[in-house]
């Protein structure tokens, strides 16, 4: 049931190849096999967004994605440059408290950006509805999102 399979995927621009149990989630593949711990376990059932990464430019919940089913390049928080406008906006708007949910929010917003367009506040609220934060009241996160992606 839990045979080992080869996973060969591109992560943050580098092709990696590992023999892993078939049940290995993408989140565990990133965290355990590659040591990329920026993506977090929050709920492990796809409801909190802390594990969000991009697969082929689309935001995906890595905790409910099997590593073996990944098709396309993976981008994690570690692959986001420090001068990315979304990262800079989080900084400028003091949008993190404990920081545990932050990478998931950033990756989700990068996915929104990849989608194109200039989302209005309601669209951003809808997009961020998949990410839980327990420390803030979300307003600074929304401010950062509007600043980086929104319509003026």
């Amino acid at each position: 049931m839990n045979d080992e399979l080869v996973v060969a995927i591109e992560v943050n621009g580098e092709t990696v190849r590992r023999l892993v149990p078939a049940s290995r989630t993408l989140l565990e593949f990133l965290r355990v096999d590659l040591g990329l711990t920026g993506s977090k376990h929050g709920c492990d059932v796809g409801d909190c967004g802390a594990c969000t990464v991009l697969v082929d430019g689309v935001a995906r919940l890595s905790c409910i994605t099997l590593a073996v089913e990944v098709r396309g390049p993976v981008r994690t928080i570690e692959g986001v440059p420090a001068d990315d406008p979304i990262v800079a906006a989080f900084d400028r708007h003091l949008a993190s408290q404990c920081g545990y949910c932050t990478p998931g929010f950033v990756m989700n917003l990068i996915g929104v950006r990849e989608d194109g367009g200039a989302p209005d506040e309601e669209a951003l609220r809808n997009a961020l509805g998949s990410n839980l934060c327990r420390c803030t009241g979300y307003t600074r996160i929304l401010d950062a999102a509007k600043d980086a992606l929104g319509q003026g």
């Binding site: 920026g38 977090k40 420090a82 404990c98 545990y100």
Partner: protein
């Protein structure tokens, strides 16, 4: 680039760059030490059961399993608990709740450990279980010792009161739902010593519990905490069991062991905010002033004492909230049930106490068809003699009246209130309500001995600084504030100071980072340590510069006399080293003037009070019970803010957490005592869609506090109770669906279902022309 952190100025969180880049490490992110194994707890499926037999044979046979451990495998004490050791780390004779750990499996991987856990054979004999407060009261299954406070003559005051409210107030539980679940990593070191990484708010307690479980002195155990992904009280006492499982597994196998709980385990192994039931009678005079309150307060402790007594006591201390009550008779009972052991949660009983008196205010107003704020404002603490709490502590600088005045003006209360009345008169399906909530919250651990803190500051010969203190950074910005204080005291940019991970080998005997006390206590300790070093450095600088030490100013990385000679701090540090002057110091602080006699229910348990107020507007749909907060205005007294950006974030986040507690977060157990809302699909915390689009947060100005660190006040817990304003807003909106004169029966949390029931109930009574339920 290091973020710019400065005292009394809005500053970024010291770890902001690490948060946003994914570089911030939490316990589960630490690199695995060589040979690390994984621990997994086997939980009792029964609320109360005798353990007839236990057998790990089948589990041990699974390849990759290194150990299956039961109570008998504990080398030291199997009894843990923060106040009294009344919990079995691993259930021995009996399992006391569903989720009580019976065994720990240690294996090569977590997957194997989990698989093996299902193969551990435990035979139970199910025993009768207590699953509700009412069953506990009937069985007189009380823990701890009741606390009693009395003043005046309640019977006489109730007899002469213009209005008497007799009711039962209940508040729900709440899961902490910190985004980072519990984790611990135990590493055996040479010589029988231990290094434990733990996601705890209380490393000293973890140190003590691990030492006790392993039968070692505390100096054999170092506990280190990188940072927490949220705590909210849930990692104050609950972290110990997880760390002890890891340490036990590592002790037996001789290898590092990590125990990490997934969300379901976290929610089904650890305690929640205490649900309370309070039976009360409140009297008001004809002007709406509170004259008397009698309350019997029952807290659902769960299966062990944990911190329940102190939480229940804090509920008593906050039954008065912001109101002077001349005649009181308060008593609490801490009820044992066979449920998860309830624990600290932001507010620590304070919210549970305040919910009671606010219920009384609402009911009095609803019965008479009046504005509840008439009752609130008339009852505020004020000048003598209306400035003494039920426990005899003087309320200096009562701020409720000022908060009401400023907030009602800035929130445009009167105009909006009139607009809402007009809207409600014409709208049949959707009604609105406007609620006001004042908060007075006592600051200090009520166990006086806990009000102490230590720090250790090290200045290196190049002028760079390491700062250690006993507090935990869990997102609340404690390290940011401590860096601001250290930078200010040493006259260096905060970027020259490094906040070290909290560790028990740097600062011993710490208190939990709890009770909102983190910056109050550690701030003074850090400042005192820096001041000591600065004093020594000043003696050297005075010699070098040829000016009196008393004339020296440490600022902007320079040391010198104003208008006179100066030298860089770094150069002075090097000179001190060359001259063999000590450049490290501890700092210590103990809060002065605290004295409380619990037997008499009298004294000064708090150093001061933190005040705040909220005005909350809601909209309620009568067809579905759905509701939303349209706008909220918050005003919080944080003294002279150490770092306003941090404080504003705390106020906003606490308010939203309070609204979550009272409107959407529903903890449910089934009839067998199983916690069934154990994930985000069934347990709803606020999302971005649940917070008001219009949220206005402000800090009260010109309120520098005497005797506190740089005139600041605590901020962690008090604003959570601003969320109670949503209840009064909801009750007003619900009442608008019926004729005036009916008390609202609204269960908490006020989910759409509960709101719909309340609307149907009040409409039915209104239609029947029946008097109010408690009328």
């Amino acid at each position: 680039m290091t973020p710019l952190i400065k005292l009394n100025a809005s500053s970024p969180h010291e770890s902001a760059r690490k948060h946003v880049s994914g570089a911030a490490r939490y316990v589960d992110d630490l690199p695995a030490p060589q040979g690390m194994l994984h621990g997994f707890a086997v939980a009792s499926p029964h609320a109360h059961a005798k353990i007839v037999s236990r057998d790990g044979t089948r589990a041990r046979a699974l390849p990759g399993v290194h150990a299956v451990l039961f109570a008998a495998d504990v080398p030291g004490s199997n009894h843990i608990g923060p106040v009294v050791h009344d919990e079995d780390l691993l259930a021995d004779a009996t399992a006391q709740c569903v989720g009580h750990a019976v065994a720990v499996v240690v294996a090569e991987s977590r997957d194997i450990a989990r698989e093996a856990a299902a193969l551990v054979d435990v035979v139970y004999e199910v025993l009768p279980a207590i699953l509700t407060i009412e069953e506990s009261i009937a069985a007189k299954a009380f823990l701890g010792s009741p606390h009693h406070m009395a003043r005046g003559d309640v019977d006489a005051a109730l007899a002469s009161a213009a209005i008497v409210i007799k009711a039962t107030a209940r508040n729900p539980a709440q899961d902490h739902f910190y985004l980072e679940t519990h984790a611990a990593l135990a590493i055996p070191e040479e010589g029988g010593n231990w290094l434990i990484y733990s996601s705890t708010q209380h490393p000293t307690e973890v140190q003590g519990e691990v030492a006790s479980v392993l039968g070692l002195p505390r100096n054999a155990v170092v506990v280190e905490v990188p940072r927490l992904g949220g705590g909210f009280g849930g990692k104050e006492s609950q972290a110990s069991q997880i760390a002890c499982w890891a340490a036990l597994g590592a002790h037996v196998t001789g290898r590092p062991v990590k125990v990490w709980l997934d969300r379901e385990q976290d929610m089904t192994h650890t305690g929640k905010r205490h649900p309370f039931r309070t039976d009360y009678e409140a009297g008001f005079d004809a002007d709406g002033r509170l004259t008397a309150l009698r309350a019997r307060v029952y807290a659902d402790a769960g299966f062990s004492l944990d911190l329940s007594q102190a939480i229940n006591d804090r509920a008593l201390f906050h039954l008065d909230n912001a109101y002077y009550v001349p005649n009181v008779d308060f008593q609490n009972f801490t009820c044992k049930t066979n449920l998860l052991s309830n624990t600290a949660f932001r507010g620590f009983g304070g919210p549970q106490g305040m919910v009671v008196i606010e219920d009384a205010m609402q009911r009095a107003a609803e019965r008479l068809g009046k504005d509840p704020n008439v009752f609130r404002v008339a009852s505020f603490y004020g000048d003598a003699p209306r400035n003494v709490t039920p426990y005899g502590m003087r309320v200096d600088q009562p701020r409720a009246a000022r908060l009401w005045e400023e907030l009602s003006a800035s929130s445009d209360y009167a105009t909006r209130s009139a607009a809402i009345a007009a809207h409600n008169a014409t709208s049949s399906v959707v009604k609105r309500g406007l609620g006001f909530m004042p908060v007075k919250f006592g600051i200090s651990f009520t166990a006086t001995l806990l009000n102490q803190a230590g720090a250790l500051v090290l200045v290196y010969a190049d002028g760079s600084v390491q700062m250690n203190h006993g507090g935990i950074e869990m997102g609340q910005g404690l390290h940011t504030k401590m860096l601001a204080i250290a930078g200010d005291e040493l006259g260096v940019p905060a970027s020259a100071v490094r906040a070290m991970d909290t560790a028990t080998d740097k600062v011993p005997n710490t208190s939990a980072t709890a009770a909102s006390s983190g910056s109050d206590l550690n701030g003074w300790a850090v400042r005192n340590a820096c001041a000591e070093i600065r004093q020594r450095m000043a003696v050297v600088a005075a010699e070098v510069l040829g000016v009196p030490a008393a004339a020296l100013v440490f600022a902007d990385g320079q040391v010198g006399a104003p208008g006179g000679p100066s030298m860089p701090f770094a150069k002075l540090a090097n000179t001190c080293w060359v001259r063999r002057i000590s450049l490290s110091s501890t700092g210590f602080y103990a809060t002065p003037d605290l004295a409380y006699d619990r037997e008499k229910g009298f004294g000064r348990p708090f150093f001061y009070f933190a005040w705040g107020a909220s005005v909350v507007e809601v909209e309620v749909n009568a067809l579905t019970g759905e509701h939303r907060v349209v706008r909220a205005d918050l005003l919080q007294d944080v003294g002279k803010s150490l770092v306003p950006s941090i404080d504003l974030g705390q106020v906003e986040g606490a308010f939203v957490q309070g609204v979550g507690w009272l409107t959407m977060e529903e903890c449910l157990y089934d009839k067998r005592g199983r916690f069934v809302t154990h994930g985000p699909s069934t347990y709803k915390i606020p999302t971005i869609g649940d917070v008001p689009a219009d949220l206005r947060v402000h800090l009260l100005e010109n309120v520098e506090q005497d005797g506190t660190i740089h005139g600041s006040k605590a901020v962690g817990e008090p604003p959570l109770m601003l969320g109670i304003g949503v209840v009064s807003a909801l009750r007003q909106a619900i009442g608008a669906f019926a004729s005036p004169g009916h008390e609202i029966e609204l269960a908490l949390p006020a989910t759409p279902e509960a709101v719909l029931r309340a609307i149907m109930d009040v409409r039915a009574r209104s239609a029947a022309g029946a008097p109010s339920l408690h009328g």
